[in-house]
């Protein structure tokens, strides 16, 4: 028991070190845009480079709020009406990652895929 606890405390310490390291790195990322209008995305597929951090700008042109959500990417963000929001994604492994406008997620036009390649 006695030698387990130092190990358990090393994990948070490692976490803090990682945070400090990340704070010191500032890299410009490519920006990709999705627009929501009439509860539909302007693109059903968005191709992005794999292995890079990306900035996703989602513009909501409806007056009502929308929620961008992607379970595969672990992302969710509410975009108030007539507003826009930025999310950071990646670096992604090559593959297909679905996303939806959650408030209308059953509609085909409110679904899309990010393809990392």
């Amino acid at each position: 028991m006695l030698h387990v606890r130092p190990l358990l405390l090393k994990l948070p310490a490692a976490l803090l070190a990682t945070l400090a390291l990340n704070a010191s790195l500032a890299v410009a990322t490519e920006e990709y845009t999705l627009t929501i209008k009439d509860h539909a995305f302007d693109k059903q597929e968005l191709v992005v480079p794999a292995g890079q951090k990306i900035t996703l700008l989602v513009i909501n042109k409806d007056a009502t709020p929308a929620e961008f959500e992607s379970k595969p990417l672990n992302r969710e963000k509410v975009i108030p009406g007539n507003a826009q929001a930025t999310l950071h994604i990646g670096p992604l492994r090559p593959g297909r990652y679905g996303f939806v406008e959650e408030y209308h997620e059953k509609e085909a036009a409110a679904q899309g895929t990010i393809i990392a390649q």
Binding site: P12, N74, R75
Partner: protein, 273 residues
Amino acid sequence: MFTAALIVFRESLEAALIIGIMAAATRGFARRTRWIIAGIGAGAAGAALVASSMELISDLASGTGQELFNAGILLTAVAMLAWHNIWMSVHGRQMAAQANSAARAVTEGRSAQSVILAVVALAVLREGSETVLFLYALGTGTASGWHASLLGGGLGLGAGALVGFLLYAGLLRIPLQRFFAVTSALVVLLAAGMASQAAAFLIQADLVPSLGAPLWDTSGVLAQDSALGMLLHGLVGYAAQPAGMQIVFYLTALCAILAGMKGVAARSNGQLA
């Protein structure tokens, strides 16, 4: 209407699972039902406030206000759950031994009760604000939209509450010997799951690195949007495609709470004659 029911069910399920576990974990605490109901009320009021302030929140911190807010709420809940478990590892045996509620009320004190209220309120606040915004977005669509949305939402809420109640009732059937060990374990897993969710928001805001997005993919084994997947997501924080940093937060919360519980219990055992 079905969309409203399904989505409100999903949101309320998460809160209902937390409330069910907290209700079971605080079994024997004096007047805890009152505190839970107060927590639900406070959370609901907070949810309405948050939903109406969403634009303001979103614009804070150069557009990362939402992520910071969500991560903050989740991490506060993690701290409260940690506190509860650590408190129980000292006082739990004492509480179980006390036959009458007056004695238990003295042992448990005001702080334990406020933790119950806070955890419940934060859970309802988080899921509730999403639900309010969703119903607003759906309801303003068509003329009949409002009624259909509210009805569907009500059904979804009822279904979510039912599952939470079933969890609570099921837990109560566990023999008293094992009962608090089980609820303790559930609370730790709940906290770890919340820490993982907080990490996702911090990654989204580019405040921490992702360390592999995703680190692995088990959606072929168990999809996160399947019934079991949703249940496990709410109970133990299951994610089919977690980022590496989410796993780090998960394990850190798990280890830190267990270490705290063992450390405090060992010290208090040492003090007993």
